[in-house]
């Protein structure tokens, strides 16, 4: 079980990182969301995986580690606030700059640069 769990976390991290490296804001936001899923799962797993453990006291002796759970709970809520902030920032950037590229300007391709310099000549 731990094996596929680790695989899933790794895969989600990789997907998240790939998307955050893209040039458009929406992809970055999606990537951040994926990444925060992965991070939450990662933190949660530091309390080790347990199937059918008790969630509250007094039900059974086998009890899941509550500390990572408490940490992850707030992390989920804060993660939402962060995603929201990033997405609104992206919208504001588009409104003020006229494009949705993370750098605030569309990078020129090599061909465009060549054409421009050719025109000047």
């Amino acid at each position: 079980m731990e094996g596929i769990y680790a695989f899933c976390v790794g895969l989600m991290t990789a997907c998240g990182i790939f998307l955050t490296l893209r040039g458009r804001t929406f992809s970055v936001v999606v990537g951040l969301t994926l990444l925060s899923y992965a991070v939450n799962l990662f933190l949660f797993a530091s309390g080790r995986l347990k199937l059918d453990a008790a969630a509250v006291l007094g039900v059974s002796e086998d009890y899941g580690d509550p500390l990572p759970q408490a940490l992850v709970l707030t992390a989920i809520v804060i993660g939402f606030a962060m995603t929201a902030f990033a997405v609104i920032l992206a919208m504001r950037a588009r409104a003020d700059l006229g494009n949705d590229h993370v750098d605030g300007r569309i990078p020129q391709t090599k061909e465009e640069v060549r054409q421009k310099s050719g025109g000047q000549r």
């Binding site: 976390v9 790794g10 893209r22 939450n40 509250v56 759970q69 804060i78 929201a84």
Partner: protein, 932 residues
């Protein structure tokens, strides 16, 4: 208040006086400026007798005792000598500058900088703490920058000032490093302790590094080879500044530093080699260069370099007698060189030129000034009956008696004599070229004697040259003795200050130097011709070129790392992450630990496969944004299920409700953003990013796998044991949130509130184009609020609120709590917004979400403060059980009130974000109304 502290303080206050008094007459301004330094000088003179008897005054005010930082001053023999030079010559320079500055110059500003420098310099010599010495040291660099660039409209003044600041400032950084290491070795920054622990320092392994660092600081300040070039370029400063800073005081700061740390650092071969060889090189080079200057001040500047080299050479010889000679020469050089600079200033001022090819035969026009200048330059040349002669004799004597170079030791006296030849030659040139040698050529003004009082400072200094030269032990004997005593930090060797020591080798060397110098001067035309063959390397041009290259390189590096592309920064960040996180993993022998794995089951595998497919689909279809959003929500749902599967119902509930809110948010955002992402990453970029993300994913997967397969050593047992008894709840997760770690939660809801308010401000003035159709050109449905949806959601609202109340109330003992309840309430309200639109809700639901956030954080904080009334620490919780008929036994806890605060903040924050964003899609858009 203690007198010692008053001295620097008075001078510091003195910086303000000229600024206030500049409105009065120039003379009044000069006198008022001089008043406070004069009092300081008087105070020092009062303490002088005790110091000459060998006493030492110290005072300290603790600043950061734990770091060994304090405001500490001392007054001992060496400090006394330097303070007298600084304040005494400073006062003369103030008088001189009164006549030197023209009415166009801002006198108040000039005096202010001058006194600031005086304060800084006094601070350097009086400081009793290593770090404090450095602070004042840098202050001298800065104030000297201001003084050199006083005539800022001249390009050479600006360039000269910048060069001086760059060299001395950079040297200061080396000095700081050296002093920090020195303090580290000794264990304190207290100066006296450092001076007393010379043996420990010299035996320490870092001794060579410390010595080199401190010496670089000293050499840059005292214009020693190869840092000597800044001094001639600093001659763009007004002459009073040159006379004060560049002969008597600032350039002596490096010398002072070497003399001060003499007991701590000197006495090793390393010290001898570096200090004496640098000194010797500087001594010869300065003397040689001085000979070829046509500019009067240029000649004096290079001669200053040469004399500083001489003093450095003496300090490097390592014999105590040489140190005495060095200190003696410091006094003598300050007097004759300051007066020579002043004389040069007078000549420049009254004739309009400093070029020795134009200035000839001034004797006829200013015989009095000429006499003074001739006496002073004779002292510089080392003519008997003048102070320069005495210290030069001591220098020759020391040069003869040192043997550190082994069989090559004979070279030192020979080279010393050669240096003496140079100084006689340039002194002769100064006198003969300026005052005799025919008639002046094309001078802008007809030269004449300066105003009476402009000569007074020169007269005083020249008188001192003569007095010291004739009655040495009577005038400076005690001062020299006490200065040497404190510089050596031990007994002073026997020496004699007599004028006549009989016929001996030093006298012969002096005679050779005098005759040789005259001979060199006589044959100067041949030397000038010889020198003209070399290409002239203007250090200013070289320096500017070096600086420009440096700036060019720095710009290139900055442009490479910081080209404005966030994508590139992220790339660097991830690469760095890979390196930093992969490196420790190399030490981990086995990935899997000894903890047994949970066996796989079909359900989990299905979940994992779905998760993987959905994640990959998000990446593959990320350019079709709506599709990506849908697959993303699948990932979120499976994460929720994973939490539920692995026994974390609280997390599952939270994740589920957050999921709903997030996806609604992203869909709203997508309405305003382009529906598709253009294909713009080059294939190479895609491969690179795939590589990076695969690496990081692999590392993260490895780490978590290694972590999970190792036994758990947890601190959670404490929480589990105390949850029921201490926090009154059986849901440990919730008890941790609202009780054990309540302070963290308070911080977290505050962050949430701040984020929501920030978003609110970002939305407030957003001007976005609102598309009227989708990307295929199909217009949006006119029926934006279908009847079915409104009716059903309206009837669902009370149920949803009931559920959230239930979740909230049971949170302490069962899965639930403020966070989850808040999210459920938000989802319920959002549903109403979706079903009915903003207008409909606005009429019916009068909630101010900002106030909600504020009151939520307020309630949580007040709950925490409440425990203060019961003399408990912040956020101590209270609970008890009560019994009511009908309901039965129930529990009340202060943690529930805290949780209410969490609940309100979560609802307020979520709704503030979504309601305001949603409002943009309707006629309620504030932005466009404002524009109309």
């Amino acid at each position: 208040m203690n007198t010692l502290l008053c001295i620097p303080l008075l001078v510091l206050m003195g910086t303000l006086v000229p600024l206030c008094s500049t409105r009065y007459s120039r003379t009044a301004c000069a006198f008022l400026t001089a008043a406070l330094p004069a009092i300081a000088l008087f105070l020092i003179l009062q303490m002088a007798p005790a110091i000459l008897d060998g006493q030492r005054f110290q005072t300290a005010i603790d600043w950061v005792p734990s770091l060994g930082l304090s405001l500490a001053f001392r007054l001992d023999g060496l400090t006394l000598l330097f303070s007298l030079l600084i304040l005494g010559i400073g006062l003369l320079v103030i008088l001189y500058a009164r006549y030197y500055l023209s009415s166009n110059d801002n006198m108040g500003k000039f005096y202010c900088y001058l006194i600031l420098f005086m304060f800084a310099m006094l601070g350097v010599v009086m400081s009793d703490n290593l770090i404090q010495i450095w602070v004042f040291w840098e202050l001298t660099s800065i104030s000297s920058f201001l003084l050199i660039s006083f005539w800022g409209s001249k390009s050479e003044a600006r360039k000269g000032a910048r060069m001086a600041l760059t060299i001395t400032g950079a040297g200061g950084l080396f000095l700081l490093a050296g002093l920090l290491m020195l303090g580290n070795v000794v264990g304190t920054f207290d100066l006296q302790t450092v001076l007393d622990s010379g043996d420990i320092i010299r035996a320490h392994s870092t001794y060579p590094i410390i010595t080199v660092l401190i010496l670089i600081g000293a050499f840059t300040k005292s214009a020693q080879f190869p840092f000597h070039f800044w001094l001639p370029n600093a001659m763009a400063a007004p002459t009073p500044v040159s006379s004060y800073l560049h002969s008597a005081t600032m350039v002596k700061a490096g010398i002072f530093l070497m003399a001060r740390f003499y007991p701590s650092l000197a006495g090793t071969d390393l010290w001898f080699l570096i200090v004496s060889m640098t000194g010797l090189a500087t001594f010869l080079l300065g003397g040689y260069l001085a000979l070829f200057q046509h500019d009067l001040k240029g000649l004096l500047a290079n001669s200053t370099i040469s004399h500083l080299g001489l003093i450095t050479l003496l300090l490097g010889m390592g014999s105590d007698l040489a140190l005495v000679a060095a200190i003696f020469h410091i006094i003598n050089h300050a007097t004759f060189k300051a007066s020579l600079f002043m004389a040069a200033g007078i000549i420049d001022h009254e004739s309009g030129s400093r070029d020795m090819r134009q200035l000839n035969g001034l004797w006829k026009y200013m015989p009095y000034t000429a006499t003074l200048a001739m006496v002073a330059s004779s002292a510089m040349a080392g003519v008997p009956l003048l102070n320069g002669f005495l210290s030069k004799e001591m220098f020759f004597n020391e040069a003869l008696h040192q043997d550190s170079l082994g069989s090559l030791s004979w070279m030192v006296p020979v080279l010393a004599t050669l240096g003496g030849v140079f100084s006689v030659a340039y002194s002769t040139r100064f006198v003969h070229d300026v005052f005799f040698n025919g008639e002046p050529i094309n001078l802008p003004k007809t030269p004449h004697e300066p105003p009476r009082y402009m000569r007074v400072p020169v007269e005083i200094l020249v008188a001192l040259c003569l007095l010291v030269g004739i009655f040495p032990s009577w005038i400076v004997g005690d001062l020299l003795q006490s200065a040497s005593l404190s510089a050596l930090n031990g007994p002073v060797p026997e020496y004699s200050l007599a004028i006549w020591h009989g016929f001996n080798i030093p006298l012969l060397m002096s005679v050779i130097a005098l005759l040789g110098g005259l001979l060199v001067y006589y044959n100067r035309q041949h030397l000038f011709k010889f020198q003209a063959q070399f290409p002239t390397n203007d250090p200013k041009v070289l320096f500017e070129r070096a600086i420009q290259q440096l700036v060019g390189k720095a710009t290139w590096i900055i442009n490479f790392f910081e080209n404005g592309s966030l994508q590139r920064y992220l790339y660097f960040l991830f690469m760095f992450t890979i390196v930093m996180s992969a490196y420790p993993l190399l030490d981990l022998n086995a990935t899997a630990g000894r903890r047994p794995e949970i066996p796989l089951d079909a359900l989990s595998i299905t979940g994992a496969v779905l998760l993987s497919i959905a994640s990959l689909a998000t990446v593959v279809w990320h350019r079709r944004r709506m599709v990506a959003l849908l697959t993303l929500s699948v990932v979120g749902l499976i994460v929720t299920l994973a939490f539920a599967r692995f026994s974390a119902p609280d997390l599952a509930l939270t994740q589920l409700s957050v999921e709903v809110v997030t996806i609604i948010l992203l869909m709203l955002a997508l309405f305003f953003l382009p529906q598709k992402t253009p294909k713009e990453s080059s294939p190479r970029r895609v491969v690179r990013d795939l590589g990076i993300s695969a690496m990081i994913g692999g590392i993260v997967g490895t780490v978590i796998y290694a972590l999970m397969t190792r036994p758990l050593d947890t601190i959670s047992d404490f929480f589990t044991e105390n949850s029921k008894t201490g926090g009154g709840g059986t849901n440990v997760v919730n008890v941790i949130l609202v009780d054990f770690r309540g302070f963290d939660t308070l911080g977290e809801i505050t962050v949430l509130g701040i984020a929501a308010l920030g978003i609110f401000k970002l939305i407030a003035r957003m001007r976005l184009y609102m598309p009227s159709s989708n990307e295929q050109g199909r217009p949006w449905s006119t029926d934006s609020h279908p009847l079915m949806l409104s009716v059903i959601s309206q009837s669902l609202l009370p149920l949803a609120l009931l559920v959230s109340a239930y979740i909230f109330l049971r949170g302490h003992n069962m899965p639930g709590g403020g966070f989850i309840a808040g999210l459920i309430t938000s989802v319920a309200i959002i549903q109403q917004y979706v079903a009915h639109g903003v207008d409909w809700i606005k009429e019916r639901l009068k909630l101010d979400y900002q106030i909600m956030i504020g009151s939520g954080i307020g309630i949580a904080a007040l709950t925490g403060l409440g425990s203060w009334f019961f003399d408990r620490p912040f956020l101590t919780s209270w609970f008890d059980y009560f019994y009511l008929p009908v309901i039965g036994k129930f529990e009340l806890a202060s943690a529930m009130l805290f949780d209410l605060g969490v609940y309100l903040t979560v609802v307020g924050a979520t709704m503030l974000i979504l309601a305001n964003l949603g409002q943009l899609t309707t006629s309620e858009r504030a932005v466009f109304e404002e524009e109309k």
